[in-house]
Amino acid sequence: MSVELDVFVGNTTIMDKEVYQLWLNGYTVNDAVKVRMEGGVMEECEASAEVLLSDTMDQFRTFQMCERLLQNPAKLANQLLFQIPPDRQAMLIERYYAFADAFVREVLGKKLSKGTKKDLDDVSAKTGITLKSCRRQFDNFKRVFKVVEELKGPLVENIRQHFLLPDQLARDYAAIVFFANNRFETGKKKLQYLTFQDFAFCAGQLINNWTVGAVDNMVEDMDVDLDKEFLQDLKDLKILIADKDLLDQHKSLVCVALRGKTKVFNEMETNFKNLSRGLVNIAAKLTNPKDVRDFFIDLVEKFIEPCKSDRWTATDVNLYLTHYTNSAHILDSFKYQTVWTRYMGVIKSCILRMYHE
């Protein structure tokens, strides 16, 4: 004796946010029912476990039917099958494309390939996020990646329009796409302390300043690939460390500016050449894809870690980088001002963001 068939269809599709979240989290119907029971819905509405099960199954089924549309959000607004109020549609899309920080940190910068997908069970075990949810998030990344790959125009705008995502989420996806495309290494132990939002911020900086799109906004992949010419130009910056005079001059300029303004002046003074060498070397190596991948790791190793060990505060770092950048402009024999500004602007904001006290 059993209920063989049980459906409920409303003219306006009924969707419970809480149940939707459980579905997105990859719960099975039974687990979801358990969670809901613990949540106290039953007492609230005098419902029985049976009622809850029926409702959960029904909604899970609805979500499953909607999933096809959610994968192409533009369709959701133009489909006839489900009558969903616009605000609900927005909620559905936003939540479907939302991802867990823990998850995204695991795949950020990895190639969005079948191989990575196969490893998702490890990610699932590590993060405690269900495999189903991992797969959804991964597929979202991949789908967005594939779509914007072929589009012209600004990356964030493309993502926002194509997937009807709110601005912040679109920016996050832009970061994910950018990282995946350039395969930045983010998984090393030294980088573990960084959150996704840290990386997303850096990605935003890189996209806005170092990509082709930063100069020309009507090229394919303009926001995804770094500006090759710019990278080539960066080699010229080597003069800052190769030329002994220039280096000393630079150092003295910075020291003059900073004297008495920071408690770590002495450490700064001793370390100046090392730090400068570190930053300029990063710039000089960026033509090599391998070194592009290690960009963040290099920043941490070559700059952040030394500063940390000398107990610089974020203000110290800010002060130092400001004067380090500006002083180079005063150097008479240094001719690469534009490239230097373009480079250091990004480096400064990235380091400041990545510099956790």
């Binding site: 003219n11 089924r61 616009p86």
Partner: protein
Amino acid sequence: MPGKLKAKVVAGRHLPVMDRASDLTDAFVEVKFGTTTFKTDVCPKSLNPQWNSEWFKFEVDDEDLQDEPLQITVLDHDTYSANDAIGKVYIDIDPLLCSEAATVISGWFPIYDTIHGIRGEINVLVKVDLFNDLNRFRQSSCGVKFFCTTSIPRCFRAVLIHGFVEELVVNEDPEYQWIDRIRTPRASNEARQRLISLMSGELQRKIGLKVLEMGGNAVVGYLQCFDLEGESGLVVRAIGTACTLDKISSTYTAAIVQNLSNSSPSKDMKEAGFGEEAPGVPLSSGPPTPLRAQTFSSFSPSKSYSRQSSSSDTELSLTPKTGMGSGGSAGKEAGPLKALLRQQTQSALEQREFPFFTLTGFPPAFLLHVGGVVSARSVKLLDRIHNPDEPETRDAWWEELRQEIKSHAKALGCHAVVGYSESTSICEEVCILSASGTAAILSSRFVQDGALDTDHRFEDVAPPACGFCHIPYDELNMPFPAQLTYCHCCRRHKVPDVLFTTIDVPTEANVTGKGCLIQARLCRTKKKGQGEGNATAISNLLPFLEYELHTQLLNKLKLRGMNALFGLRVQISVGDTMLLGLASATGVYLTALPSPGGIQIAGKTPNDITYEQHISNMQKKINDTIAKNKELYEINPPEFVEEVIGSPIPEPRQRSRLFRSHSESSDEVLELDLSHGKKDAFVLEIDDTDAIEDIHSLLTDAPTPPGFYSCNTEIMPGIYNWTSGLQMFTSVRVFRLSNANLTNQGLNKIFNDLCENLLKSLYFKLRSMVPCCLCHVNFIVAVPEDELIQVAVTAVAMSFDKDQSQENGRQSGDKTLMKAITENEEQLQFPLELSAESPSNPLSCAKGLSEVSGPLPSARDRCSSWIEQLRLKAHTIRRGSIKTMSSLEKASPVPEGRSRSLRSNRSCPGSSITVVKMTPLSFIPGAKIIKYLGIINMFFIRETTSLREEGGVSGFLHSFIAEVFAMVRAHVAALGGNAVVSYSMKECVFMENPNKNQAQCLINVSGDAVIFIRESELEATPSQTQSGNVQTSSNGEGT
């Protein structure tokens, strides 16, 4: 050759990938009407093709226009093999044939395939040019309007209600033709869909012809059903009520309602008008407005009026002509004139073969008295039809049943049957035909035309609000034992103690507290059988089934402390091994009827102490439940000194308003007296386990959770302040009985639990809408297979405002209204008339009315011309009534903020899709229906051979129902509408074969496509301020 149909295919979108290699589709479209087919060009390699075709023109007879659907097929072009069909769209042209309905069909239609479901959408434009046809022998009936709504549609007024129309057509079911063995399931399904579409068209056309013959222009309460008889054929039958309707211009309605809801100014006008001369002013009746203004109840006969007619006795004198002569107090003051009048009414109705009305809601002053429910069933064998392809046999069956209904009504002293409906249940070769309705006495006001002139004025006295409760039959010769008391409202006429009806709660009725959904559920096992033996077994079971359902209903009604049932619908469903009975109704406490007594339990073995205790426990439980229910439903009737009067039977007995009979193929008629011998009505005797079960089941009905109400009628008495929150839904459950040897009790429990759990799930699902009321809850039960029970529910959840102050205000308002009715017979009914005419010539018309008090049938024809005049004077009306606006605005029960926030957004940004509301009710709360676009009547078949892959039976049915909704919405939107009212799912036949991974489902839905405007929007538009306010006022306080 009176019509040119034009169609244009614009574009497609979201098409499925038909070519795996390219992941694209080369789509083209075939447009077919009748035997003519046009094709578009192939739009290569696109999932969103733009065809932008020329206009395809079909020159056709209007007969074909009515019968045939426009058939649009989307195909994938294939160079080497046959073109693959992507899917089809059937477009019913009918709405374009009415001049007042839609003028163009234009929009995105889902492309539907019976195997794959919806596969993308297509944008189509359709127009019709009609040429006037003067041929009087024409076969078409273009221009007759059809409405599913079972009351006079909102923007019309009834000039005449002609009466019953029915038609039945038969065809061979394609699924049972020999060719079905060799064709694909898709071809077979499509043949079936197309045939039913054709048959529906033909049926409507034929009914339309009958309406034209009767002189009408519309069918209201159109109810069309399919009987899938199997081998013997496919029957499509329909019944309806032919009417002559007049469209009310908005200002006209406005004026009426304005004045209605504000009776004092009109009264002043009337007084001023007395004694004035009015030569040359044509008399027009007070037009019944289609709006259910609550305020109607406040108009009782005028002083001058009652003087002339002694109208207080009108009801009493209305004993049926065919009855046993006038008896008792009846007719004591009735002069010969009255008798004559009554006879005229009577004969007007009796001239008709079947004085039946499918309406459940009536224009004011139309329904005079209600006798009770009349029903008839008969069991037939389908394999005994001599000529299965011809409709004669079925016609005869129904004719027989209708005759029975008619005679039952007569026995109840009634000359008409209202709220009439017919249904069938088929299991293999056995078919149960059922008909039921409510015996009633109607005013001749709308049923008669012809010159009866001044004699007829008395009929137009608005009966007191309690009038319909007064017994229509002769109390000395009652058709069944009943306990009569004097009416608790007027205290002059007699009323029964319990009233069962199939109609909606009349707007003028005084109801104490709120109502609730009451269901009686029953399952009876039956031996498997064949042919005659099986039919006999079934017809032997039927009376018991009905008896028990009736008893259950009565007990449950008493348990809720209520005394009347509305919207009663008894379904009997037959399976191979069982019979299912489900009776649903809305219980209310009619103020006019006596308070119901409690329920007493009596044991058979009085000496057993534990037993006694058990019984007293139970008794206590019952008493507690009654008390709790009274509180829950706010039933606190005013004190009334009980005064039982002349019941011819000494002991109180259980009375039944149910008249029924069964007949089987042998035409035996069995009448059943449902009274319980000489037992007290309210005593339940526990003499066996059965009875204990009964009581248990009585008490296991879970109360609705807090914040919820439910009813199966249009609206819930006692709730007025609806918000615009609206959610129509369909829920289906199928239960498999794994245990083959179930007892009746076991089965009963399962069935009962199934229904209860379903309701509980609904409440849970809709909890976010609280406070809310499930309205028009409609259960359909079926036994699709041996061990399956299927229950389908369609209803609408409507939230209301729990603003107590408003509600209380409302209630107190009602009470004062009631008082006005019961105590003050001098109140005028005239506002109706005045509202129509006073703006143009207040003085003279009031004069006219005081002389000739009501709508004269002869004057009715002139009404229409009057409407024209009124339109011209609309300006005056506006100016005249604007004064009352501010006060009316306050009376709006819908807080503006809320209604605005909830209102549908027709043009939401980023979406081109019109939001289409669907509701089984005839109205949309907080909105005004401004146009009826035509009837929606759609039939779909869906089949799958990959059941598991589609998510099992639930997944399959879920998407199918969603698809049906989507297609209904798309068609409504294409007609230019934004809502479907009076929506119903009439059929949901589900068959599965999990072993073969297959399932099939047939769904038939219908409703009226309309355009509505939110009141808030109306108010916002200055030019329409008038009507906006009026609408508000009709919901709000009148006085």
